[in-house]
């Protein structure tokens, strides 16, 4: 190794550590993180809640969708520090009357709204976010509200049916466990 290494992006600035305190699925958590840590990595790698997935790097696929203070957001596009002082609900935090499932989860089961299951937690969280603000959405409203979530397996019809099933079987709000 010589001293005339090229002058180009080399080692990054040393990690700046920040404290992030948030409520995840009803439980208060505190982590000291590299400031650039994405929320999805806080959830997956520090909280070890791996139901929230990563499917793209441009915020298009929605596999990482979680609720931030009750609103569906894409956790790959939010820094963990932005969740400081906020409440996060992931798919693991859903609980409802259908053998532990919410109506949305049960709707996906009843209507075959999932195949490989990789996009599913994001879909479920996006649908949960929709029903929280519109308890009786039309097919067109469901499709429009899931615009930011990509499923490569189902062709969407059965996902739409799943969300309608949930709308027709009670508007149980997401209860968080913990």
């Amino acid at each position: 190794m010589t001293d005339d290494a090229p002058a180009r992006p080399t080692s990054p600035t040393p990690a700046r550590l920040v404290d992030v305190a948030s409520t995840v699925n009803g439980r208060e958590t505190r982590h000291r993180l590299d400031a650039r840590t994405l929320l999805v990595h806080l959830i997956r790698e520090h909280e070890r809640l791996t139901g929230t997935h990563i499917g793209c790097d441009t915020s298009n696929c929605g596999a990482c969708t979680v609720l931030l203070d009750g609103e569906a957001i894409k956790s790959c596009t939010v820094l963990a520090v932005q969740a400081d002082g906020h409440e996060i609900t992931t798919v693991e935090g859903l609980a409802g009357p259908y053998d532990g499932f919410t109506a949305v989860q049960e709707g996906f089961r009843q209507c075959h709204g999932l195949q490989c299951g990789y996009c599913t937690p994001g879909m479920v969280m996006a649908a949960t976010g929709l029903l929280a603000v519109n308890s009786d959405p039309s097919e067109q409203e469901i499709r429009a509200s899931l615009e930011g979530n990509i499923c490569r397996c189902t062709g969407y019809q059965m996902i739409v049916d799943s969300v309608r099933w949930a709308a027709e079987h009670g508007s149980d709000q997401p209860n968080t466990t913990g």
Partner: protein, 778 residues
Amino acid sequence: MSLVGAKVLRKEDPRLLSGTGTFVDDLSPPRCAFAAFVTSTEAHAEIVSIDARAALKIPGVLGVWTAADFADHPDLPGGLPDLERPALARNIVRFAGEPVAVVVADDRYLAADAVAAVDVQYRDLPVVTTIEAATADDAPVLFANHGSNVVTVVPTMDDLERQISRCDDRASLHLVNQRCAAVPIEAVACLADWGADGLTLWATFQAPHHLRNYLATWLDIPQTQCRVVAPDVGGGFGSKIVWYPEFFLAPLLSKWTRRPVKFAQTRTEAMMQMAHGRDQVHDLDIGFDRDGTIRALRVVISQNLGAYPDPTGVGLAVLTSWMAAGCYRIPDVSTSFRTVVTNTTPVAAYRGAGRPEAAYSIERMIDLVARRTGLDPAEVRRRNFIKPGAFPYETHNEPVVYDSGDFPAALDECLRLVRYDERRAEQAARADDPDAPLLGIGLSSWLEIAGFGPNGSLEGFGHLASWESAQVRIQPDGSAIVFAGSSPHGQGHETTFAQIASDELGIPFDRIQLRFGDTATVLQGVGTMGSRGVPTAGSAVKVASSRVLEKAKKVAAHLLEAAEADLEVRDNAFNVRGSPGKKVGWGEVAWASFQPLSLPPELQAGSLEERLFQESPNFSYPSGAYACVVEIDRATGAIDIVDMVLVDDCGTVINPLLAEGQVHGGVAQGIAQALFEAVVYEPDSGQPITANLLDYLVPSAPDMPGYTAGRITTLCPNNPLGAKGIGESGAVGAPAAVVNAIVDALAPFGVEHVDMPVTPEKVWRLLHDATAPERSHR
């Protein structure tokens, strides 16, 4: 009550819906390090230097490795002589995104930092991205030792020019079946842990045994020291039966760093590195008589293989040429093809793999014949269909013998569901209304080849064999474990195979558990591709289960002191016919089966277990008829699918809910190819301009229509289930239906063809380029 044919809810769903499934990147063993790849920024270049000094200075970076570090290992498996792909680019890069170095660091952020800090200098070489450019006289050659960009040429013995020119009329089309990306939402990921007891590789893959077979050889270790696990796999569609370098390098990185090493591709990497599909160009000529009878068809296929010939990629055009005549009785068919390398991502199987290309071409040609003869497209199909009584039907290619089908019945059902005559009347009524959107109706009477396959068929693509395995084992309490050699990635094997086993064994569905995807626990396996899950693996489960039942009956008969022939299995028990109440439960039989003192002399303890390799005497041939109705906005060219009718014939249906889901998913990918998706390269530089999901349009819910599904059933005679397979059907049948509908809507403007993806811009240009008299014609 039979479970086969019932809408049973899936066993898979509770874990996947609660976020407790296990995908590769969910695994995080202690001390796990993370690998990331330095990838080529150039499409064709010599590597002048790789300088990793800056990267190695970053705290937490464990190392940087280049091709030279792997010189003890061969190139990736399955390559053709002089055209092999090195695991890391050696001296020359041949496509943008090709891995040139690999970094391992403590976590994925540091690995990304290190990748950014590696300095690679290139000397650019001229680039070819298309078949046309790669076959030009002065084209730069990708592989100097091969000397040409043309890899294989399969010529025709007879171009049929004489037969075509003898017909009343002839027509020709030049069709581009554009390059698509599979885009499973889980990209490539693997985790290698090579410790004192050997290697375990967790990989998102469709065929873990297949990977194990080749990986052990590549690493030069016995297969006993090489365990491959495919846990929950987030979609595949053909793109996860490809030899990606990551699967081969990660084990060595684990060995060298003495840590588990994980790799998880970003989507941008995946768009450049996961194999693409399609990318064929067809030149078609068809000869026909005035009454619509087709006499001869010539299909000339060119396949873009991308930068390195993939073992499946080189075979795609074979399947296309096999299926070129679709479901029609055409006396003379001529097919030929060539495969060509270019400076693009390698091409391999993508849902349908060679058959969507065939179905699209023949179905476009049928509509062209209808246009030229003035006959209705449905009528041209009817006049040329292979008749329902003509099976088994020998085609223009000797290995291809259609098993069964009823093409007229499928079309009739499709026309009924789409209200064809009503739609045609509405179309005519709208013609004179310049304010109404244009209406188009498109048909696709498609046929594919599936159920791979007969002995020898998958071996041609590098697989160990073409059978599929199943092992059925009864536990002492009378519950059953089914080990399946076919490992799923969304198909629902846990459910459908349990349905099959439950019916055969008489054991309740809830007491049957599937195991798959782990070479340490599952008997040999081949894999999940080519719509073979139910016809091949499902049949294996059925036969193995029935053999176990035969042995269980011997035990039960012994316990009951009754004749085997008098036993029937009902309500989880063996009942003696005609003697109400005389019965023994499955649990008691199972318990006894492990106790030598309770067994008849011909049975040994533990004999309620069966393993077998199910072979197939022939392929299966799923078919169907799809109809698409589109409305086109005259001002903007915007296309709206207002109806999509799907009539499938997959033989026996195990679970109608899951079968319909497979069709929907395939159709969505077919519609996406027809309307939205195309992998595009800048031709001079070879730079991908669709390398993320912003630029490559994978449709979401508002882009897609609802579907109306119908069904006819003709049984497959070549497997014990009578099933044909359904995984790829939708992707085979849908593109032609959509494009035929669009061309039908544009017919008044003189449009005879438009290439996929049919964007609003293309339609708008066609509308505005049309001549005024034609426009006022209607």
